[in-house]
């Protein structure tokens, strides 16, 4: 999980001060990912240096307000759509999708699909290994273990897709409250 990208995603909802960012980060990751405030400010300085966020006004104290730049929004969007370079542990995938829910303008089904495609491609690669090693039970067992694990992730993406779709069809629901509750429970289960 990238703290840098998570903070950037939180700022895409509107300007915030450092302390508020820390509180929201911890709240949305189910209070299982403590973050010290020093880490928050170091990350914010780097984001500012890279032109992804800007500070509002000249105040240099803890009340300094940060807002995301256009380059920052682009960065968040790219990060959400890019599959991790290693097979994602489930909690990272879950957090990515939860973050995507809160970022304005993100096509959440498209984010889900980019992860789904990558996982199916990995499954195809594993299945090819199994096809080639038709008489090698050890390979089959190792490959099966990976296939079942990847399959579970895809099933989770499918159910997330269905839930997002159901919520989109029920516009009267207060999604912000529900998301935050779901976040807390889900993260506790998977970690």
């Amino acid at each position: 999980m990238s703290v840098r990208h998570a903070l950037l995603a939180l700022l895409s909802e509107g300007p915030k001060i450092g302390l508020k960012l820390r509180d929201e980060f911890e709240q949305r990751t189910g209070d299982v990912w403590p973050l010290n405030v020093g880490q928050v400010y170091t990350t914010l300085q780097r984001l500012e240096r890279d032109g992804l966020i800007e500070a509002n006004g000249d105040d240099d104290g803890p009340q300094k307000d940060y807002r995301i730049t256009d380059a920052g929004r682009l960065e968040v969007d790219e990060w959400l759509h890019t599959p991790p370079s290693v097979i994602p542990p489930r909690d990272e995938l879950v957090i990515k999708v939860l973050v995507a829910l809160g970022v304005p303008g993100v096509d959440v089904p498209a984010v889900l699909q980019s992860h789904r495609r990558r996982l199916v491609e990995l499954m195809q690669a594993y299945t090819t290994l199994k096809e080639d090693a038709v008489d090698d039970m050890r390979v089959a067992l190792v490959v099966d273990a990976e296939l079942f694990r990847l399959d579970a992730l895809i099933r989770w993406l499918d159910s997330a897709d269905a839930r997002v779709r159901a919520m989109a069809n029920a516009p009267t629901t207060d999604t912000s409250t529900q998301t935050s509750l779901v976040t807390r429970r889900t993260i506790r289960v998977v970690t």
Binding site: S85, V86, I87, P109, Q113, S114, R116, R117, L119, V120, E121, L122, M123, Q124, A125, Y126, T127, T128, L129, K130, E131, V139, V142, V143, D144, E146, L147, F148, L150, D151, I154, R155, D158, D161, A162
Partner: protein
């Protein structure tokens, strides 16, 4: 070309307010030798795509070509002959005839197509042998296990000169090892020059296909590009 081509295919059921767009502007080519899996949620249009590709249903718009021939330009008889001679179907409920043995189930379509009884039986036995079912050829469907019945249905689908294979959830309720055996057979059949389409919601089954298409609300929204360099997967040397 040999294989199936769908170009700008749409399918609409009902009219006015009850109108349902099962497929929207789908273009897809499945070559001889290729097995393509179609994945998508319930109602995404998977089964409609299969029935249209197999000329069991006509598209509202667009063109379906099988082996380069536009299906809509064929007469009713020509289309029936195409279905009998070129296209094999495997549906979830298999549709094996309970009063016929495995061998008779497989040879029936050949006999209906005018092949002599002896040759039809010989061809059917060869197809069953490829599925590892020659020992069970004289059994009736209710004397066979689920996996065996599935193999008979696939033998019937590929028997003779059929070179298009269409399967809708072909492993039914089989356990994963038997399901894998069925997918191995389908993949091997395609590698022998058959153009195959398998519709499934199961990613493990879909991963046996050379290419996976994702349908959403009747549209193709994505497809896989299988990664190269699979050897590194087991050693952990890197990602494909």
């Amino acid at each position: 070309m040999q294989g199936i081509e769908l170009e700008g295919v749409s399918k609409t059921f009902g009219a006015d307010e009850g109108e349902v767009h099962a497929l929207r502007d789908v273009s897809l080519t499945i070559s001889a030798g290729e097995l393509v899996a179609v994945m998508g949620a319930s109602g995404s249009g998977k089964s409609t795509l299969l029935t249209i590709a197999g000329s069991l249903e006509e598209p509202t718009n667009g063109t379906v070509r099988i082996h380069g021939r536009d299906v809509s330009s064929m007469s009713k008889n020509e289309r029936a002959r195409l279905r009998r001679q070129s296209i094999g179907y495997v549906f979830q409920d298999l549709n094996l005839l309970a009063g016929l043995t495995a061998a008779e189930n497989v040879s029936l379509p050949l006999e209906l197509d005018g092949m002599g009884l002896k040759e039809a039986r010989r061809t059917a036995m060869a197809a069953l042998e490829r599925m590892g079912m020659s020992e069970r050829a004289d059994r009736f469907p209710d004397q066979l296990s689920g996996g065996e019945r599935q193999r008979v249905a696939i033998a019937r689908a590929v028997v003779g000169q059929r070179d298009v294979l269409l399967a809708d959830e072909p492993t039914g309720a089989l356990d994963s090892v038997n399901g894998e055996a069925v997918m191995r057979i389908l993949r091997a059949a395609c590698q022998d020059g058959v153009a195959g389409v398998v519709v499934t919601h199961d990613a493990q089954l879909a991963s046996w296909a050379h290419r996976v298409i994702f349908l959403r609300d009747g549209r193709i929204v994505d497809q896989t590009v299988p990664p190269a360099g699979v050897e590194s997967l087991l050693t952990g040397d890197g990602q494909p």
